[in-house]
Symmetry: C2
Subunit: 121 residues, 2 copies
DNA sequence: TTCAGACATAGAAAAGTTTCGATGTCTAGC
DNA sequence: GCTAGACATCGAAACTTTTCTATGTCTGAA
């Protein structure tokens, strides 16, 4: 029998993330556009946006799959699939502790994106 | 015979745009997520990102379809299709002057998006 | 070692997206 | 009015995404 997920210490994650090609000042290259589109695509889904919002607002800034499945009304494999996309894009980290996988936001990811979008000419 | 597109005065566009549900402070609703995903989806394509970048960096802050087609290596209907998506999302305005359709960035659209993404808890 | 449960992966169906060629519409010049 | 040209729309082909059910893997308790 497995009991309810206990809250444990979460390791600090090193910040990284390439960033900051100004979008509006000069035409970006095809490969810059592909990179940025990849990040935006990961976010451009209502379920994934709600996952980002729910995880960020969750106590401790992290949540496991079992805490995310029910409120979204989708099956566990579907939620796992969306979480994987968010991790691949560098938006979430995944930390497996015991039987549970804890997902947490990489704060710099969204900030870098916001910076690219709002940096003017 | 139609000569090359002459630069004409562009009317100032009134700023608007609904905005600013904090994404990270508390879980957003399904309908907020759908709205935000719609905006992100419009941007989450390499061709459309390059269109945004090219138009913003273009002289006068606007460009017509004929100026955008060749550098992207796609056909005119395909570029028109992408431009339509950007207009529908409120990212571009379309101003038909004579035979040409001039597209321009709505600056507040990207700024609103950046604000939603970077507003912390 | 065995079992229950949390999560991931695989494969398939349905739906959505991107792109094209063909064609329609509208403007400006003749 | 007629024509050329800029742009939009249509319909179809190819591809990608979303979601499911079924199944696999791994951890911790007994």
């Amino acid at each position: 029998m497995i009991t309810s997920p206990a809250r444990q210490a979460r390791p600090l994650l090193p910040l990284d993330e390439a960033c900051c090609t100004p979008l509006l000042r000069e035409p970006i290259t095809a490969s810059q556009a592909a990179d940025l589109a990849g990040l935006l695509k990961a976010l451009a889904d209502p379920i994934r946006l709600r996952l980002v919002s729910m995880v960020a607002a969750h106590e401790g800034g992290e949540a496991c799959v079992c805490e995310l499945t029910e409120p979204l009304g989708l099956t566990q494999p579907t939620i796992s699939h969306h979480l994987k996309i968010l991790v691949s894009a560098g938006i979430f980290t995944r930390d497996k502790r015991g039987v549970w996988a804890y997902y947490a936001l990489v704060p710099s990811a969204l900030q870098a994106l916001a910076a690219v979008l709002s940096a003017d000419r």
